[in-house]
Symmetry: D2
Subunit: 338 residues, 4 copies
């Protein structure tokens, strides 16, 4: 049993904790949190030992009826692996703590690539993480792009990829974030940071990305163009390849799924925990081939697509299963694939 | 076992079907649907026999891989009770079909009150439905208001209620609905239809309502003022009464729940199916007493608060349990109350 | 000529500057700004001398091609009156500067009432500002409520007012502000600060306000209930009174104006500068009388309704015109009243 | 003087009417409208003779205090040119009326290209309209793309253009349109109709477009990639070419303009009627060259960019000025170029 500690129990952390618990070879030895809000109460109700990320606020937990198991230092000491899911930039500040305890750790995509030796995507470079102590699971957008590009890269070669990322402005619980009525270039400069981030996974890929954010909360939307090196026989071949990817869901035309609202409704109907969609969602009808130019649109559930990647990264760090073995175990235990 | 047919398997219908299935004294004998989209596929996967609401489109179901169990006429014939959850106004058109088969039926709040003999709220007038064949479960907003007003009405008397309903523009799956960037008086005239609708439940209540719609999809928000006839001792008394209501959730201050986004996140964390919140959500901090004037804000999950009411209404029609017995069985089987 | 300096040239400041320039008895002697963005460039193009609010950033103005007339200290020294339109809280920090130069000043509604001797609304308490050196023009919401309540207060007496303020989340240029998909109680506690703020204008008024914010940028929407002390003859009487108020626009039914989008479109069609609507916008159809209970809905253009109030407050401070004289001159020069 | 009749006086029609009136060689002989709402009242106040598009509703105009000048038939008879700005699809129904009176007419981009002999963009194919009787001014998006592509096409040749159109869900006055909280592929199939529409202007251009709509009302946003045939010296060369285009506004970095909200605020500050931005708005910082691959982002004001194109198309039809002469006269009279 790999004992996993989760430091930072928010949008990503709570999902990773639940996914870890569903694994036969892992257990959650605790979660660390700063503030005793409904999410912290939820951790207690889920049965996770709760640790205080910030000792000064320990008394607030008591006031909310939460028994603390200790401070984050203790959690790190007791864990075989820590998943750091604190806000962007805090992970880097935490690294010395993990080093101090000699505890291997995962970081999330909000950190700079330099926070860890390896940037990770289970489909592409599981092996690279096997020798590492610190691994960064790339962001929701980079994960989504890596999964989509991988089968194309392997089978046809990619001359160039061009992607527009229409990003959700904030998560459903982030009422402070905008924009309210604007589509905002973010960043204005091109390429956005997403292109170089994808290159941490595919170092030789020629990719240009453009980012903007819009007033939605449910999913990112990518419009993707890939100029392939070798022309496929026809678009059916591409559709079939994408369909056969384990972490890509292709949306058939008859389904009447027109955006993130219906996608999430579909996932909730299917009984997915929190309505999570761990898979890339590619509209079949959008997959189009014009010579060597492939186009499509995909939706990415920012809150959850990195969750199975975190599970696989824990296994890669601990080294007892191969990539395909881990991926298939993760898929099965979580119920990935509709 | 009460055999329940669901005619109209959309936002409300699919939830009612699942809730019915969870009852020990009921079973779903089938659901009728017009179009073979992802929701219809979901019905099949949930194991519900699917009937075609529209015979002309039966072949489309075959194309989507859905085996039809027959047409809606057959479903009505085989049901002890039909829950009509078709779009507003279609229920009234369906009533002759139910009469033809002598099948008692429930209608939803989108229908005019005249569609049925009784407008129904389980907390207030369960008994009235016991002798009826046709019952209308009042709308999400009216249900929410009735539950809130009931303990006040009983304990203090209500001189007058004044409510502003800040309504969500559309459900998460309704991409065609607006507004995008506007708060729209809807209707402009005062009182809105909600006041008279609440009076179908509390005939003698003096209530004025104002309606508007805003660019949100998750929940309605009500700002409520009630001038009580008798002054409570203090606000604590009111809080305690509201807390003790089975279908009201009072949100404590420390929870950090600031709106519908966090409420839904909380419900999803708690494992609620579809993230549904069957209860009224009242912010404790907002409950305020100024003399005989009580104020508060509550959020209402439009997609699900009527679901337990439908279950109770089925029982009221069939007459084998009392109101308190039914409500408590419904609450227990669904997991109402956090 | 009253020489007016505007410190803080943003949403409010730029509008006040233009309104001041339109007065026969005033001139803009300069505007102070922190950052040399498009608004600063606009000041230069409008012909206003630009002063640096922050000396450290003076070189940035040069880089943007803006010639500075000096620093804010000089502007204050040269002004007969300063209009402080800096962000909330900054005004209070600036007050010592104005005192140092013995320059009377106006503050805006984002400041606490304690920043000045008088909180001001031209319709209600112009006279009180005549002896003051420091005056606070109340916020957009408070201005809108004061104008609406004034004729009712004078003619019928007000037993109690209850208002829900459905506030826009941010101004059109504030892309960082949310919420995106939520109606957020703000504050959760009742009454919101708006009630006490209205009482700075009507000290004896019994008023309870509830505030929330929604994902819109154009206007606030108020749902208003006023229990009058004396019952009017009929609703026509009320409509006529509101119609005869100079800073209230009553929207007739046939106009087809359903919200802030059409209101702003209407104002832009009418050639209003910046599409500004200085008047309260009351839907005639919403004005409803139930005994002594009056209801209605009004929209308030947050960016501009305080502008004529600032102009009048400048005159009140300088003391050379009476309230009615000033209001009528302001109305005429700006073109208030459609 | 060219006597211009405007049939359909809504978002586009009212702007075209005002632009026509500003021309020394044109006059508005009347506008036709269906419903007597605020826009119709505005036409009267602007001094335009108002004609009833629908005789059956003539009495409604009287009720709103609008004197009708006659029915649309008369307007067409009296016009030298009709600008049809009725809703999508209605223009085609109106064509027989114009033919009956032998009156040349312009149609808008909501019509199919087959409605007229020529699809028109003043920058690209003014001459083609000179011999035509019926001309279609292409849509806001196609106009914006044509202007951007023209200088690239002429100077470098275009191997391929790839564009994502992030479209506003509705205009500010269209409260019925969504989506509220979704980015919706629209259409799901690729290419969207925009690509072929651009090819009505550039018949030989290789262009693929992807369309989606988002919950914003102010402007469209385009992310553009153009693979040039010949590589420019450097990006400065491109910037300078774009800057020198009369109907392209390049946004400098220091301006602090981050989206449509600030763009419209800027236009309103500059005194633009209705805050209209007739020019494409290209972020300078976004203009990027990677070999022969050019990228950038531009915002397009859907309500107004076609207005100067309509004015030029009227002149092209009437044939008394060349394209450059007309464009320059239109620019000067409207105040195009900041
Ligand atoms: N939300 C997303 O869409 C998303 C998607 C992929 C990756 N990520 C990345 O995941 C990471 C976490 O993001 P999130 O959205 O889950 O954030 P979050 O704000 O939802 O959760 C962060 C949690 O960390 C806690 N925390 C804050 N400071 C802390 C500290 N100093 N020590 C310990 N805990 C602390 C907070 O209480 C909170 O529980 C970031 O790197 C982010 O970029 C987020
Ligand atoms: N969605 C809400 O927020 C909400 C809340 C409370 C009450 N209601 C009421 O519930 C009822 C249903 O609303 P909904 O939101 O579930 O609608 P919906 O559109 O989500 O679902 C309606 C279903 O009925 C089917 N249908 C359409 N025409 C039909 C016909 N002629 N015969 C049989 N089925 C047909 C549709 O295929 C769809 O599956 C309405 O009266 C509505 O006012 C809705
Ligand atoms: N925007 C509204 O809806 C609105 C309505 C009514 C009242 N108000 C009040 O008006 C005041 C100004 O608000 P706003 O919306 O115009 O703000 P804003 O942010 O649009 O403008 C503030 C301006 O002040 C400048 N500034 C910032 N710090 C400064 C400093 N230290 N010294 C001098 N200038 C400085 C900024 O550069 C900016 O130009 C606030 O009190 C606000 O509460 C705003
Ligand atoms: N709004 C935009 O963003 C935009 C941009 C570019 C092009 N267009 C195109 O311009 C055209 C007009 O669009 P709009 O946005 O101005 O529409 P709109 O709805 O704002 O205005 C249409 C006007 O036509 C009137 N009308 C309706 N039916 C009529 C009829 N049968 N005869 C005469 N008048 C009638 C309406 O009363 C209204 O005044 C469409 O082809 C549209 O695709 C619109």
């Amino acid at each position: 049993m790999i004992r996993v500690g989760v430091n930072g129990y928010g949008t990503i952390g709570k999902r990773v904790a639940d996914a870890v618990r569903a694994q036969p070879d892992m257990e959650v030895c605790g979660v660390a949190k700063r503030s005793p809000n409904y999410v912290a109460v939820g951790a207690t109700e889920a049965g996770y030992p709760v640790y205080a990320a910030d000792d000064d606020r320990a008394h607030e937990f008591a006031a909310a009826g939460i028994d603390l198991a200790g401070s984050v230092d203790k959690l790190v000491a007791e864990s075989d692996v820590v998943v750091d899911a604190t806000p962007s930039g805090v992970g880097a500040e935490n690294r010395p703590l993990y080093e101090h305890h000699d505890t291997p750790a995962l970081f999330q995509g909000g950190e700079d690539a330099t926070v860890a030796e390896v940037s990770f995507n289970a489909r592409v470079n599981y092996d690279e993480a096997e020798d590492a102590d610190y691994v960064r699971v790339v962001s929701c957008n980079t994960t989504g792009l890596s999964r989509f590009l991988a089968p194309l890269y392997e089978n046809y070669g990619i001359e160039k990829a061009r992607v527009t990322l229409v990003r959700r402005g904030g998560d459903p619980d982030q009422t402070g974030r905008g924009p309210i009525n604007d589509a905002v270039p973010d960043p204005i400069s091109i390429p956005s940071h997403h292109g170089p981030d994808v290159q941490t996974i595919f170092p030789k890929l020629d990719i240009d990305t453009i980012g903007l954010k819009v007033p939605t909360t449910m999913m990112h939307l990518h419009t993707v163009n890939v100029t392939l090196e070798n022309e496929p026989d026809d678009v059916t071949e591409i559709r079939d390849r994408l369909r056969s990817e384990d972490r890509i869901l292709t949306i058939p035309d008859y389904a009447g799924i027109d955006g993130a609202g219906t996608l999430k409704d579909f996932a909730l109907d299917a009984g997915r925990p929190r309505g999570d969609i761990w898979e890339n969602c590619v509209w079949e009808e959008s997959i189009t081939l014009r010579g060597r130019d492939l186009y499509c649109m995909q939706a990415i559930h920012q809150e959850s697509d990195v969750v199975p990647e975190n599970v696989d990264a824990i296994r890669a760090l601990s080294g007892h299963l191969t990539g395909p073995e881990s991926r298939s175990l993760t898929n099965e235990t979580l119920g990935i694939g509709f």
